[in-house]
Symmetry: C2
Subunit: 344 residues, 2 copies
């Protein structure tokens, strides 16, 4: 049982007024209070393990020094690495972080936002799921300070920190083409989210700019709910028939993980049988038999910038800050020059 | 700017007293208030986006419906998977979770505990770092409800949910011996923590029970700060000389990850050149060329039990509950029967 020590408890123990205790512990009116009395009050406070009640304080200041963080799933390495960076940044400014996972579900995200606001967080950092546009618009109308990360809604004028997803997807496909690959498949999550569409757009734009005809069956969108089975099926489809794809671009770390496991179980040789590019640099990639070319997101910068923008918005008048960061294509063995092939 | 709407704002807008607004929004004295007035108050509250102030409420109830969670590092998959489970459990009971990473540093952990208590969390779930015994004893003296997870201090009588680490380490080494391996190395983190010592104890006990002489140089303890370089060096040492080890037991997921990467870069064949057992089942293991035998911790049960015990302690008189769970040895290809070897 956590019976918290109050100013009154200390006052009674010392035999002074509660007001006097409050003055001493808040370092007010120091020169009007006897040193011995102040000393005694501090001793008793320590003895009783008195802690400043941040809640009482926050009612006065209307600040709780707490940030709310909504990620897709804290168990995904992208989310947890970002959470770690935001935690560190927030802590440097004496803020703590309350977090929740939306599971890409707009109902869950709405409930989370509501819960966090009831806890009077000073602001929110949100990776919004699909169909969350109206909740974000609501926050804006209510003048809640917030920053979107990873995803945003182009029709809403909000602060965000995100990648130029189209550009980096373009450069990944560009690289595959430069390495001699022509039949390039893409496996992505079925999603209406802007950032996922941008990755698709980059892929299509690169093929087009190199005048490569696109076989529409090369573009596979797998539903989140059956991501493992559907990724495996997509790979099977892309490798079947007389003209299998020569290279694969996974635009999400979950799809990549299941995809690579399946490629391994099929005993395909990367890159000779199939070249690979993945979105996100995760620990798992390090143990794949061939070092994997991947898109490294600037996680530290995303987390730091988002925290910085949010803290500014909490302190001052709201200002919209939109940051588009560049991601890096890290080239490894999985996209080595294509061996000379028979022209089909 | 987040100017929060108060009861007074609503009262002024409707032209009634603040008390009346409070009655209506807290569903009190319903039959004494005119329906039309109550209706009007609710409409204005909604219009102004009034949210119950949980903070004001918590000053009355002395409850915040918030749990504090201290993990070693939220970016480690063990911590983040556990955090996800605790988040889900807490949410089922309308609790939110504030978290922090201690980085295995007792100063940081003390500061985190202090910060979380200032935020008036109702209780704490803590994976304590080394040398944190005195902080945990302090919490106990202050009657703060808490549960330790993963690690605990055998000299302190506190609630905890942990593994029987010695038993599962014993069974892992037992399995290696049954498969025909005799020279078995162990790589662990340098740590005074009880759970890490228990894993070492299980290893030594199994060797002893099988009357295998232990070469002390087979037991490598690497410092956390240089975990990559030191793990690589340890593997080099264990494989050098005329009598290299035939099997390796990694007692921690970070050591395992760096170790497997190095084994891969050395192009060793698992299990023919070296058999492997790892602590923790992480996604990364799935992409290693040989399926890896590992110790699967019952994460869901750890998270659920810890949350349950904590919520009970918050609600009722404190009761010490100590849970020791069994972990499962998941046997895969990396510990297949040793091929017939020359007797050295």
């Amino acid at each position: 049982m956590n019976r918290k020590v109050s100013l009154k408890d200390i006052a009674q123990r010392v035999g002074v007024s509660t007001t006097l205790v409050s003055y001493v512990l808040n370092n007010q009116k120091e020169n009007r209070i006897k040193k011995e009395v102040a000393q005694k009050i501090r001793e008793v406070a320590q003895e009783l393990n008195y802690r400043t009640n941040q809640i009482a304080k926050s009612l006065k200041t209307r600040k709780t020094a707490t940030l709310g963080l909504i990620v897709a799933d804290i168990a995904n390495p992208f989310s947890s690495s970002l959470a770690r960076i935001i935690e560190d940044e927030a802590s440097r400014h004496d803020y703590t972080v309350i977090f929740g996972s939306s599971d890409e579900n707009p109902q869950k995200s709405r409930k989370l936002i509501d819960t966090l606001l009831k806890r009077q967080v000073d602001g929110l950092i949100i990776a919004p799921p699909q169909e969350a546009e109206s909740q974000i618009a609501d926050l804006q109308r209510q003048h809640v300070p917030f920053v979107l990360i990873d995803r945003y809604f182009p029709d809403l004028k909000t602060s965000y920190v995100a990648l130029d997803n189209c550009a980096v997807a373009y450069s990944a496909v560009d690289h595959l083409i430069a390495q001699g690959y022509r039949r390039i498949g893409l496996i992505t999550l079925q999603s209406s989210l802007y950032h996922m569409n941008e990755r698709k757009r980059g892929y299509l734009a690169s093929l087009k700019d190199h005048s490569l005809t696109l076989d529409k069956s090369w573009l596979k969108e797998v539903p989140e709910e059956q991501v493992k089975a559907e990724t495996e099926k997509a790979i099977g489809d892309l490798l079947a028939g007389p003209q299998p794809v020569e290279a694969l671009f996974f635009t999400n770390n979950t799809v990549a993980l299941h995809g690579l496991k399946h490629i391994q179980s099929l005993r395909l040789h990367v890159p000779d049988d199939l070249a690979i590019v993945c979105f996100d640099e995760t620990d798992a990639l390090d143990l794949f038999s061939t070092p994997v070319t991947c898109i490294r997101q600037p996680l530290r910068e995303i987390g730091q910038q988002a925290t910085k923008i949010l803290l500014e918005n909490i302190d001052k008048t709201s200002k919209i800050t939109q940051v588009n960061l560049q991601a890096e294509l890290v080239i490894r063995q999985s996209t080595a020059q294509a061996v000379q092939r028979l022209v089909h």
